[in-house]
C-alpha cells in the first residue's frame, strides 16, 4: 500500500461521510425546520396545516380557559403580538411559569382557519426573561422599543387586550 493509495482511500472515506452528512442536513432542512411565526403572521398567511411552527407572543389577560375532554385537560388561551390574537389549544399541563400577560412560546400546527393546536408550550425558567423571538415580535409590532428601556413588565401586559393593543399601536404604526 503506497502513500498515494492510502490517501485515495482516506479522501474517498471523507467524501462519503461528509457527503452523507450534507445530504442528511439538506433533507432535514427542507422538512424538519421549525419557523417562528407571530399571531399577525398566522392571521395574514397561515402556514400549511401539516407544518410544525413556533408561535410566540403574550398570553392575553383573561383568555385562559381550562376544560376537560373526558379525563384529558385542555387549556385554551389567546396569544397576541399586539396586532392580532390566535387561539391556542393545548392538551396537557401548562408550565409552572405560564402566566396571563406574560410571554409564551407554543409549538404546534395551525388548523384552518386560525386555530393553533399546540403540542408543547414553553414559558422560560426566569420570569423576567423574555424569549428572544417574542421580544423581536414585540419590537416589530411597536409595543416595545429597546431604546426606551427594558421590556414592559408583566403588570402592564395584564391590562392589555387585543383591542387596547390595536388602539395604542395605531399611533406608532402610523408614525412608521
Amino acid at each position: 500500500m503506497t502513500r498515494k493509495t492510502r490517501r485515495l482511500w482516506l479522501v474517498l472515506a471523507c467524501v462519503a461521510c461528509l457527503g452523507t452528512a450534507a445530504t442528511l442536513i439538506l433533507r432535514a432542512f427542507s422538512s424538519d425546520i421549525v419557523f417562528f411565526v407571530t399571531p399577525s403572521q398566522v392571521e395574514a398567511s397561515p402556514p400549511p396545516a401539516d407544518r410544525t411552527v413556533k408561535l410566540g407572543g403574550m398570553v392575553v389577560a383573561g383568555s385562559v380557559k381550562r376544560e376537560k375532554h373526558g379525563e384529558t385537560p385542555v387549556a385554551t388561551f389567546a396569544v397576541t403580538d399586539g396586532q392580532a390574537a390566535v387561539t391556542v389549544h393545548y392538551e396537557g399541563i401548562l408550565p409552572d411559569l405560564f402566566r396571563e400577560g406574560q410571554s409564551v412560546v407554543a409549538i404546534g400546527t395551525v388548523q384552518p382557519p386560525h386555530e393553533f393546536m399546540a403540542s408543547e408550550v414553553l414559558a422560560k425558567h426566569d420570569e423576567t426573561y423574555m424569549p428572544k423571538e417574542v421580544a423581536e415580535a414585540l419590537k416589530k409590532s411597536g409595543k416595545w422599543d429597546p431604546r426606551f428601556g427594558p421590556p414592559p413588565s408583566a403588570a402592564s401586559w395584564n391590562n392589555m387586550t387585543v383591542q387596547d393593543a390595536n388602539k395604542t399601536l395605531s399611533a406608532p404604526a402610523a408614525a412608521n
Partner: protein
C-alpha cells in the same frame, strides 16, 4: 481576613503571574535557558494558589452574606441553605468565569506537578501556553466581569436564586462540566508546544493522551449530569432538548472523543500526527466558543452585544486570538511535521481513522444545526428553530455506521488486517444483534429506533467478545482465564468497558423513544392505566416547607394487584419569589422509570380535580448509567501503567515497533 478586596487583589496577582508564566518560559525554551524554563512550574503553582485564595474569598463572602458585594447581593439571600450559598458562587456569570480560571490554574499546576519527566523545553512551553490562555481569562474576569465589585449602599438581603436552580444536581454539574471543558486546554497546550517545537512523535502522543482521556471522562460525566438534571427537575420526561447550551457541550465531546482515538494512532504508529494536533486545537476551541458564546447569550441573541458591548467584544477578541492564533500557527508549522507510518485501509489505524471521520461528520452536523438559526436570523432576519426532528434525522444515520465499526475496530490488528477472521470471531455478536433486530421490530416502532437497539447490542456483545477472546474464556481452564484477565492491560479493558457503555446509552436512548405518557385531570380516588401499571391518586395534602408550601400527592402504583410503589410528586409554591416548581416523583427498577408529575388543582375546594402527568420511561436510567460506564472505562485506562501521567518514561521516542494487540 478573606475580604473581597483580598480576593480581587489575588485575582490580579494571578493574572500577572499567568502573564509571566506565559512569557518567561517561552523565552527560556527558545534560548535553551534552563533557569528561565525552570521558573514555569513555580509560576504555575503560584498562579493556582492565588486563584484559590481569590475563589475562597468569594465563597467566604457568600457564606457570610456579604451583600455589599454586588455578585452576592444579586444571587444570594440570607434564607438560602448553606450548600447553595457555596454552590451559588458559580451559578452566575462572574463566579463561573472565576471557577473556569481556577480550573485552568489547577490544570497548569497539574502539568507542573506531574510532568517532571517531560523534556524541560516541552514542559516549559506547555505551561507557558496554559499561562497565556489563563492571562486572557483572568483579564476578562478583572475588566468586564468582576465578581468582587462592591455596591453602596449594601442591601439588607440579597435577591436570591431561582428556586429551580437550588438543586444538588445542578450545584455540582458546572464544576464537573467545566473541568471537562478546561481539561482540553492541556492537550491544546501540548499541541501548540509541539507546533512551536516542530516535532510530534510517539512520546508526544503518550503524554497527551492521559490528559485528553481525563478531560473526556469529566466532560462525559458533566453532560450526563446535565441531562439527568433536566430529566428530573424540568418535569417533562425529556432528557435532551438539543438547545444551543447542550449542543455546545456535545460538540467538544465529539471532537474530544475523536482526539482520544487519534492520539492512540500517534502513540502506537506515529501516524495521523498533524490531524491529532488539529483535533486538539479544535476541541479546545469548541469548548471555549461553546461556553462563552452560548452562556453569554451571544449566540441566542445578537442583542447581548447591545446590552454589554465591552463583554461581547472582549469575548470575541479573546476567542479570535486563541483560535485564530493557534490555527495560524498550525497553518505555518504543520507542514514541517513529517508524515507518519503507512497502514492499510483495513487495519486498526484504518478503523480509528474511520472513527475520526464519522465523529467529525457528526460534529459538523450538530454544529450546522446549532449555528444555522442564528445565522438565518442575522443574515436574513428570519427566526427559525432546529429541534429534535432535525437532529434525529441527521445524527442517527451517521451514528449507526460508527456503532457497527466500533464492534470490530478494537479487534483488528495494527498495520494490515484481514476483515474475515475478525468477523468470524464476532458470530455471537452478529447473532445477538440480528435477534435484537428481530425482537425490536415487534417491540419498538420506528426504523431508526430498531436499528439503534440492534447496533447497541452489537456493540455490547462485540466488546464482551473481545474481552472473552483475550482471556480465552470458556476455551481454557477458568484459572487460566482469570490469570489472563489479570494480566490484560487496563487500557484494553477500559476500551471494552467504555464501548459497552456507549452501547448501554444507545440502548437506553432507543428504548426511550418508546416512552409512554398520559395527561389526565381527575378527582382523588381515580385509577388510571398506563403501560400495564395501575396508578391511583390516593390523596393530595398541603405540607409546609422552609420557604415554600408544597402540595403533595400520594400516588399508588400497582401491577397485577401487587403494590409496586407509592410516589409523592409535589408542587411547591415559593412564598417570596411568587414562583412554583414541580417536584417529580420517580420510581425506578433500573429497567424502567415510573415518572409522576402533579399539575394544577382545579374546581371547587369541596370536590377538586388535579392534573396528573404519568410517564412510563423504559430503560431511562441506562442512558446515564452508560455515560458513567464510559467515564469509568476512561478512568480505568487512565490507571494503565503505560498511560500514567507520572510514570517514568524516556524522553527519547522509541521506534514505533510497539505491537500491543
Amino acid at each position: 481576613m478573606l475580604s473581597p478586596e483580598l480576593g480581587h487583589y489575588a485575582l490580579a496577582l494571578a493574572c500577572v503571574l499567568a502573564a509571566v508564566q506565559g512569557i518567561i518560559p517561552l523565552i527560556g525554551a527558545s534560548r535553551r535557558d534552563v533557569r528561565l524554563m525552570a521558573l514555569a512550574p513555580g509560576l504555575a503553582l503560584g498562579q493556582m494558589i492565588a486563584l484559590g485564595v481569590s475563589f475562597l474569598s468569594l465563597i467566604y463572602a457568600a457564606v457570610t452574606d456579604d451583600f455589599s458585594v454586588q455578585n452576592i447581593a444579586e444571587n444570594s439571600a440570607v434564607s438560602k441553605p448553606l450548600l447553595y450559598k457555596i454552590t451559588g458562587v458559580w451559578g452566575n456569570h462572574e463566579g463561573s468565569i472565576l471557577l473556569w480560571a481556577l480550573i485552568l490554574g489547577l490544570c497548569g499546576a497539574a502539568v507542573a506537578a506531574f510532568g517532571r519527566n517531560l523534556p524541560s523545553a516541552l514542559r516549559a512551553r506547555v505551561i507557558a501556553v496554559l499561562g497565556l490562555v489563563a492571562t486572557g481569562f483572568e483579564l476578562f474576569c478583572l475588566t468586564t466581569s468582576d465578581p468582587f465589585a462592591r455596591i453602596w449602599p449594601a442591601p439588607m438581603d440579597g435577591q436570591g436564586m431561582n428556586p429551580l436552580l437550588q438543586d444538588p444536581g445542578l450545584a455540582f454539574h458546572p464544576p464537573i462540566l467545566y473541568t471537562g471543558y478546561v481539561g482540553f486546554a492541556v492537550p491544546f497546550a501540548f499541541a501548540i508546544a509541539a507546533l512551536m517545537e516542530g516535532r510530534v512523535d510517539t512520546a508526544w502522543g503518550r503524554w497527551v493522551r492521559p490528559w485528553a482521556v481525563a478531560a473526556w471522562c469529566f466532560l462525559t460525566c458533566g453532560i450526563a449530569m446535565g441531562s439527568w438534571w433536566s430529566y428530573y427537575v424540568l418535569g417533562w420526561g425529556g432528557y435532551w432538548f438539543w438547545d444551543p447550551v447542550e449542543n455546545a457541550s456535545l460538540i467538544p465531546w465529539l471532537t474530544g472523543t475523536a482526539l482520544i482515538h487519534s492520539a492512540i494512532v500517534v502513540e502506537k504508529r506515529e501516524a495521523l500526527k498533524i490531524w491529532t494536533v488539529l483535533l486538539a486545537i479544535a476541541t479546545f476551541s469548541f469548548s471555549l466558543s461553546g461556553t462563552f458564546l452560548v452562556r453569554s447569550g451571544i449566540l441566542n441573541s445578537v442583542h447581548a452585544f447591545a446590552n454589554d458591548p465591552a463583554r461581547g467584544v472582549f469575548i470575541l477578541g479573546l476567542l479570535g486570538v486563541v483560535i485564530g492564533g493557534s490555527l495560524a500557527l498550525f497553518a505555518y508549522r504543520a507542514p514541517t511535521l513529517t508524515a507518519g507510518g503507512l497502514f492499510a485501509p483495513i487495519s486498526r489505524e484504518g478503523a480509528l481513522v474511520l472513527n475520526n471521520i464519522l465523529l467529525c461528520s457528526l460534529c459538523a452536523v450538530v454544529l450546522t444545526g446549532t449555528m444555522y438559526p442564528p445565522f438565518m436570523s442575522l443574515l436574513f432576519d428570519r427566526t427559525i428553530s432546529v429541534g429534535k426532528p432535525f437532529f434525529d434525522a441527521t445524527t442517527i444515520p451517521l451514528a449507526l455506521p460508527l456503532f457497527i465499526f466500533m464492534g470490530f475496530g478494537p479487534m483488528l490488528p495494527w498495520k494490515r488486517a484481514q476483515l474475515w477472521p475478525v468477523l468470524q470471531k464476532l458470530w455471537l455478536a452478529a447473532i445477538v444483534a440480528a435477534l435484537a433486530c428481530a425482537v425490536a421490530v415487534f417491540a419498538l416502532s420506528g426504523v431508526l429506533a430498531i436499528l439503534c437497539a440492534a447496533a447497541a447490542l452489537w456493540v455490547i456483545t462485540a466488546s464482551a467478545t473481545d474481552l472473552a477472546g483475550r482471556t480465552r474464556l470458556f476455551r481454557a481452564p477458568v484459572g487460566t482465564s482469570i490469570q489472563r484477565a489479570r494480566m490484560l492491560p487496563r487500557a484494553i479493558v477500559g476500551t471494552a468497558i467504555a464501548h459497552a457503555g456507549v452501547g448501554i446509552t444507545v440502548l437506553g436512548l432507543a428504548a426511550m423513544s418508546q416512552a409512554q405518557h398520559k395527561i389526565v385531570e381527575v378527582p382523588i380516588g381515580t385509577t388510571e392505566q398506563l403501560a400495564g401499571y395501575t396508578w391511583t391518586l390516593k390523596a393530595v395534602t398541603q405540607e409546609p416547607g422552609p420557604n415554600y408550601t408544597a402540595m403533595v400527592a400520594t400516588l399508588e402504583v400497582r401491577r397485577n394487584g401487587h403494590l409496586v410503589t407509592v410516589m409523592h410528586p409535589s408542587k411547591r409554591s415559593f412564598n417570596s419569589q411568587n414562583q412554583t416548581t414541580t417536584n417529580v416523583a420517580i420510581h425506578t427498577n433500573m429497567l424502567a422509570d415510573l415518572y409522576g408529575v402533579l399539575g394544577d388543582k382545579h374546581g371547587p375546594d369541596a370536590n377538586p380535580t388535579y392534573v396528573l402527568r404519568l410517564h412510563y420511561n423504559p430503560l431511562a436510567p441506562w442512558m446515564w448509567l452508560g455515560a458513567l460506564i464510559m467515564a469509568f472505562g476512561g478512568a480505568l485506562s487512565l490507571s494503565d501503567r503505560r498511560m500514567r501521567v507520572g510514570a517514568p518514561q524516556r524522553a527519547k521516542p522509541t521506534p514505533a515497533t510497539v505491537s500491543v494487540p
